[in-house]
């Protein structure tokens, strides 16, 4: 496995002539959580979409574990990347268990393997077995979010992409999920890219921070480095806000 989970080299992307990302060079080390922080319009969602091939770069290259993001047959590639989104995005017509195991079913896993992995994830996320047969709308927002993380982790992906997955959850519940997520992230050793507008969340969860503003990387480094030496007025403002 490459030391870098994700590598951006000179990546640029414009929509309808307006640059969304410009000259981005970044590396996301394997096994760690990198938090990408920016306001809406900073390009952070596009950055995430470049990693799983939903968006293709105009210039430069994105590699995941050393492999260039493919333009065709992206399904196989995406299945090696977990994905969780704000509001969980669980399929309402499937039970929670069906949501979590859908991809494993499609991959042709044996029933015992599916059962074992599912039980393991429930346990790690501290979800009670009763949620299995229920539908998503019967769970609290926090529980839905945990089910969403289980679904993202089902196939034991090497990389996890989180698109503001905790922002719709109330602050008290959020702390519990943070704790569960950090445990699972280390236990599974999954490299994580977390996109968020919340500096407090980024500092809490991120081993490393990337600060995006208007399509450019204004600061990146370990969380300690960035917090202790912002080196930029905008970054300093962000750091001060969360304290």
């Amino acid at each position: 496995m490459a030391a870098e989970a994700v590598q951006f080299d000179g990546v640029a992307k414009a929509f309808a002539g307006i640059a969304v990302l410009d000259g981005v060079n970044l590396s996301f080390p394997a096994g760690l959580t990198t938090a990408v922080v920016g306001e809406s319009g900073s390009g952070k969602t596009t950055l995430l979409q470049l990693i799983n091939g939903v968006v293709q770069p105009d210039a430069g290259q994105v590699r995941v574990f050393g492999e260039a993001v493919p333009r065709q047959a992206v399904e196989r590639f995406r299945r090696r990347i977990g994905y969780a989104v704000q509001g969980a995005g669980l399929f309402p017509h499937l039970t929670n268990r069906q949501n979590v195991v859908l991809l494993a079913r499609l991959e042709g896993w044996a029933e015992e393997a599916i059962g074992a992995r599912y039980a393991e994830l429930l346990d790690e996320m501290e979800l009670p077995e009763e949620v299995s047969g229920r539908y998503p709308h019967q769970l609290s927002g926090g529980q839905q979010q945990r089910v969403g993380l289980c679904r993202a982790l089902m196939l034991k992906p090497g990389l996890l992409l989180l698109d503001e997955p905790f922002s719709a959850v109330d602050p008290i519940t959020r702390v519990g999920i943070y704790e569960r997520f950090e445990f699972v992230q280390r236990h599974e050793g999954v490299s994580t890219v977390l996109v968020t507008h919340d500096m407090r969340e980024a500092v809490h969860l991120g081993d490393r921070l990337v600060i995006l503003r208007a399509g450019r990387v204004v600061r990146s480094g370990t969380t300690d480095e960035v917090v202790n030496a912002p080196g930029d007025a905008y970054v300093e403002q962000l750091v001060n806000q969360q304290l």
């Binding site: 590639f77 990347i81 309402p92 539908y135």
Partner: protein, 481 residues
């Protein structure tokens, strides 16, 4: 060689397809012909109640049927445009090219006639058609066909100088309407049994405007010499009074066509089987045929509608075009759509199923396209990012999430189908429309109800069945409340 085969086609192995128009006399005469041929060992298929002269004639020319009962006046004027008094020889000369022949007439003259209530005729002193001119307040209402035909109202009005504006009505309803005083003067057929039932009198046609309408079997010559020979024996067997009495046995006394035909043949030494006109058996057969028509059309519409929707829903313009196109089909009146199918598919079940199929498309396509294009975009983003292929997204996301709406569309299509299929009897497709069409021809409410009530019950059963299906395939919280 092909000629030889088609000449032999009428025998034993292939049934003789006997049609009738939707008047009670046509039913009766065709039933007599059917039983006569059955008694001679021919297999017979009854396609009674076709919705009008042109449908029956076109079906005969196209070889969809082998024979039906036609009237000399109708044939010479409305079909062959030969004018008033063409001889049978002259008409057969013209029919030769199409391989058709008009056989010996039964003998009676069932001409158009002008009917009024007996008491009104006495009160106003009406005896001849010309007498109407002196009473401009009378309300004249004629059958649609009579209103249009050259040998109908336009000619009559001119010949007698009648100062009226007439309107149209379905012939089967006219008798009841005149009996109740809703109208005063209408067209009738001179041998109609209803004339006795409703106490109507005919005005004398003293200027001899109406031509003679002698009923006779009209056949395809390729039906075979034996069939033609058998049918020729019916020539000259019924005079005016006998025909009116026979018709009255059906419309006034309520006897079945089959029984009246059997009695008529028995008097002439022909023993025929009536085939047991059992109510429950015919009800079951009609319902089964009705279900076959609607389910076949519905299944095709579901397959085609879903495929079309899945094909177009990603492109807004294509999706909207598909919905509009299906909507356009829906605006064609059902009876017109059925009639349009005849040149393409002949008569019988096929054109009916095609017409029902076209009608079912709109609810299926509209509901499916709407559902597919209004799915929560977050779910689609997740499905994409998870690595579900297009096909997997359709199977596991689009279709299940659209299911409640799709089912509602199929349910609407099914109920529309059950109603519309009753009209399919007009083009010989059978089903629950059969007793309705026959009942209309006989003005027999109980017969109409034998079709209408089961059709309504089928519609309700369909609603319930779909509720059941929905309960099984759609989780409770996604069902329409």
């Amino acid at each position: 060689m092909a000629l030889l085969f088609s000449a032999a086609a009428g025998h034993a192995d292939e049934p003789i397809r006997i049609a009738s128009k939707n008047s009670n006399e046509s039913y009766l005469l065709s039933e007599i012909a059917a039983q006569l041929l059955e008694s001679k060992g021919f297999a017979v298929e009854r396609r009674f109640g076709l919705g009008g002269t042109l449908i029956a004639f076109d079906a005969l020319v196209a070889g969809e049927i082998d024979l039906y009962m036609e009237y000399t006046g109708t044939l010479s004027q409305a079909i062959l445009k030969l004018g008033h008094d063409a001889t049978r020889e002259a008409m057969n000369q013209r029919l030769k090219g199409d391989g058709l022949r008009l056989l010996r007439p039964f003998g009676f003259n069932n001409t158009y006639a002008i009917a009024v209530r007996q008491e009104q005729a006495q009160a106003l002193g009406l005896a001849r058609i010309g007498d109407l001119a002196g009473h401009p307040a009378l309300k004249l209402v004629f059958s649609h066909e009579f209103l249009e035909r050259e040998d109908g109202w336009p000619g009559l009005k001119q010949t007698y100088g009648l100062p009226f504006n007439a309107t149209g009505i379905e012939h089967a309803l006219a008798y009841q309407a005149i009996a109740e005083g809703a109208l005063d003067v209408t067209d009738a057929y001179s041998t109609d049994g209803e004339l006795l039932r409703y106490d109507l009198v005919l005005l004398e046609d003293d200027r001899r405007f109406f031509p003679r309408y002698l009923a006779a079997p009209m056949v395809r010559v390729d039906v075979g010499a034996e069939v033609i020979e058998a049918l020729e024996t019916l020539g000259g067997t019924l005079d005016d009074a006998a025909a009116q009495a026979l018709n009255a046995t059906v419309v006034v006394d309520g006897a079945s066509f089959a029984d009246v035909a059997a009695d008529f043949l028995a008097e002439r030494g022909v023993a025929s089987e009536t085939g047991g006109d059992d109510l429950w058996r015919s009800l079951a057969a009609n319902t089964a045929q009705h279900l076959k028509l609607t389910l076949t059309a519905l299944a095709a519409a579901v397959v085609a509608g879903l495929s079309l929707s899945l094909l177009v829903f990603r492109w807004a313009v294509a999706a909207r075009s598909a919905v509009y196109l299906c909507g356009l089909l829906q605006t064609v009146p059902s009876i017109a759509l059925l009639a349009l199918m005849i040149p393409l598919f002949g008569i019988g079940a096929t054109p009916a199923v095609v017409a029902l199929f076209l009608y079912s498309l709109l609810p299926v396509v509209r509901n499916t396209v709407t559902a597919l294009t209004t799915i929560d975009p977050t779910l689609l983003r997740v499905a994409d990012a998870m690595g579900l292929s297009r096909r997997e997204q359709i199977r596991h996301v689009y279709l299940p999430l659209s299911m409640p709406s799709v089912l509602a569309g199929i349910r609407t299509a099914a109920v529309i189908n059950i109603g519309t299929a009753t009209l399919a009897a007009f083009i010989g497709a059978g089903g629950l429309g059969d007793p309705i069409v026959t009942g209309l021809a006989l003005n027999d409410v109980s017969l109409i109800l034998q079709g209408a009530v089961p059709a309504a019950m089928l519609a309700i059963a369909t609603e319930l069945a779909f509720e059941g299906v929905e309960r099984v395939v759609v989780p409770g919280h996604l069902r329409a409340k």
